[in-house]
């Protein structure tokens, strides 16, 4: 599976799974047939067992590093110590892709352990772009940034989220990690136009897709809110939106994310195979179009 170290580190346009601690041993024992895996960078910042498992697993499977704690949207700037910790994990793991979020978690040095929503303003856009530039130059590589799932919007937002994402990619040269489940969750929560969102993203910038499950909660006022909890299977509506995304973007590395109530490895692999089939189908369709033209 790994002819050379360099090739092994590239993430193919195939389906991968999120690697969580409870699956470390079974991945080593069973060597599942999966094209790549993604881990949360923050889970490998110490020494000891976790890192040693990843050292072994990455010899067989290309790894993507997905950060959840750098807080690209913090007005106060990036934490240099955290950026350095990310660099050290990357140096050791040699990931094929690295990504972060269009969100914030840190203010006045306090880490609010969630991906919090940004107002879609010119000021926030400047802040995010400045920090993506900083991250890319510190790591000396291109990164991907992920669109958020949100439960509130702000009165003074002026930029549609898809335009915000597009502008970040255009100004910094970074790629977009298109989380299809997040698009579904946010558009449903805020009454946005699903197809307009997807159509608003630049296909050439899409470097990865995320798929996950979400929860549906009934609010006291009778309204429904979708919560991006990564605790269940991908729902049919999100699979359908994914097909639409593949038709627009072409084959893209696609990750099955599952972070809470993590199921057996086989369940993740089954979802990955489903994504793999849809990628292949989109690829064939693209090839057929090319032949016809």
């Amino acid at each position: 599976m790994s002819p050379t170290a360099k090739q092994a580190s590239l993430i193919p346009a195939k389906a991968g799974i999120g690697l969580r601690f409870q699956h470390h041993q079974s991945v080593i024992d069973t060597q599942p047939d999966v094209a790549w895996m993604e881990v949360h960078t923050e889970n490998y910042m110490g020494g000891g067992t976790a890192l040693r498992y990843l050292d072994v697993i990455r010899r067989e499977v290309p790894i993507s590093l997905h950060g959840v704690g750098l807080s690209l949207g913090s007005a106060e700037g990036l934490n240099p110590a955290h950026l350095e910790r990310i660099r050290q994990v990357a140096e050791r793991i040699e990931p094929g892709l690295m990504s972060e979020h269009v969100a914030w978690s840190v203010v006045d040095g306090v880490y609010l352990a969630d991906l919090l929503p940004l107002p879609m303003t010119e000021e926030a856009l400047d802040v995010v772009c400045r920090h993506v530039d900083q991250m890319q130059s510190y790591l000396r590589r291109r990164i991907l940034v992920e669109n958020p799932s949100t439960y509130v919007t702000f009165r003074h937002s002026t930029i549609p989220e898809w335009e915000f994402m597009t502008a970040v990619a255009a100004r910094t040269g970074c790629g977009i990690l298109c989380d299809v489940n997040n698009i579904y969750v946010s558009t449903q929560n805020h009454g946005w136009d699903l197809s307009a969102y997807l159509a608003g993203l630049p296909p050439a910038a899409i470097g990865e897709i995320h798929l996950a499950g979400h929860a549906v909660r009934q609010l006291p006022d009778g309204r429904t809110l979708r919560i991006d909890d990564h605790a269940s299977s991908v729902i049919p509506e999100v699979w359908a939106l994914y097909q639409e995304a593949l038709a627009r973007f072409g084959p893209v590395p696609t990750l099955i994310e599952w972070d809470n109530n993590v199921p057996p490895l086989d369940t993740l692999l089954k979802e990955a195979r489903q994504a793999e089939c849809l990628i292949a189908a989109a690829d064939n369709k693209e090839a057929a179009h090319a032949d016809a033209a």
Binding site: M45, V68, G69, V107, F154, R155, S157, D221
Partner: protein, 263 residues
């Protein structure tokens, strides 16, 4: 219209102190302040999970419900200062000692669990070899100071917390009942070995020697002339276990181990 920094401070006040007045003014029409609870739940449950992983015996001792309540109060008073949650919870043992109803040994069990958590997540560092010391001139050997491996932690308690911790985690009520809580203080060394972490009980004099070395005391002043052990063979044993990673002739050149717990 708030600046981004103002909005983020408002949001923090809403999430941590539950002062939602300001941030609610920034929400779009039809978005109630109660939406903040979704974020708050994610944050508190994530941090509680981190504490639960670090302090499993404390959770069993106080029960799940009480643990969650304590974690909720703790996260509000000590929100994390780093986005690296393996290091979250250092203040939890002291916090527990203020929280009624408290078992007399609860905070010390927490101190032991914190040392174990630090041992598990400490960075990897190559141990110091005995041969590296052999090159020193004999007159220099007694002046050197050491730097402990980052996984090494030292815990002292008036209670047999190692026994309590083992009995609680294995659910062994008989072992728990057999413990003599008044048997006198215990002196423990926690470290990460090849097969995971290890907790070793030491004699008081031996613990004080290694504790002095971990603080960066020069070898000569760490040795108590009246000691009931052979310091050179004990030092060799510590080195063989990989408990030190560097040495220097000037004490200020080595950084002392940050984790010595207990009173």
């Amino acid at each position: 219209m708030p600046t981004l920094l103002e909005l983020q401070r408002d949001m923090c006040a809403g999430l941590i102190e539950r002062e939602v007045g300001s941030i609610a003014l920034s929400f779009a029409d039809g978005v109630g302040a109660d939406r903040l609870e979704i974020y708050r739940n994610t944050i508190v449950s994530g941090l509680t999970k981190a504490l639960r992983l670090a302090f499993p015996a404390v959770e069993r001792l106080v029960g799940g419900e009480f643990f969650e309540g304590t974690a909720d109060a703790f996260t509000a008073e000590y929100p994390p200062r780093a986005a690296y949650l393996d290091q979250y919870g250092a203040e939890f043992p002291d916090f527990l000692s203020r929280f009624p109803p408290s078992l007399s040994y609860l905070a010390d069990v927490a101190r032991l669990e914190w040392a174990i958590n630090c041992a598990l997540h400490a960075p990897d560092e190559a141990p110091l070899e005995l041969s590296q010391l052999a090159a020193l001139a004999p007159e220099d050997q007694c002046c050197i100071s050491f730097r402990a491996h980052p996984s090494v932690g030292l815990v002292r308690s008036d209670f047999p917390v190692d026994g309590i911790w083992r009995a609680v985690l294995s659910g062994d009520d008989q072992a728990m009942a057999a413990l003599d809580l008044a048997a006198g203080p215990v002196f423990l060394l926690v470290e990460r070995g090849e097969a995971g972490f290890e907790v070793t009980r030491m004699k008081k004099s031996e613990w004080e020697f290694v504790e002095a070395l971990c603080r960066g005391e020069p070898l000569l002043s760490a040795i108590d002339p009246a000691a009931d052990f052979d310091p050179s063979s004990l030092l060799a044993e510590h080195l063989a276990h990989g408990r030190f990673v560097a040495f220097a002739l000037d004490a200020s050149d080595v950084k002392a181990s940050p984790r010595i717990a207990g009173g």
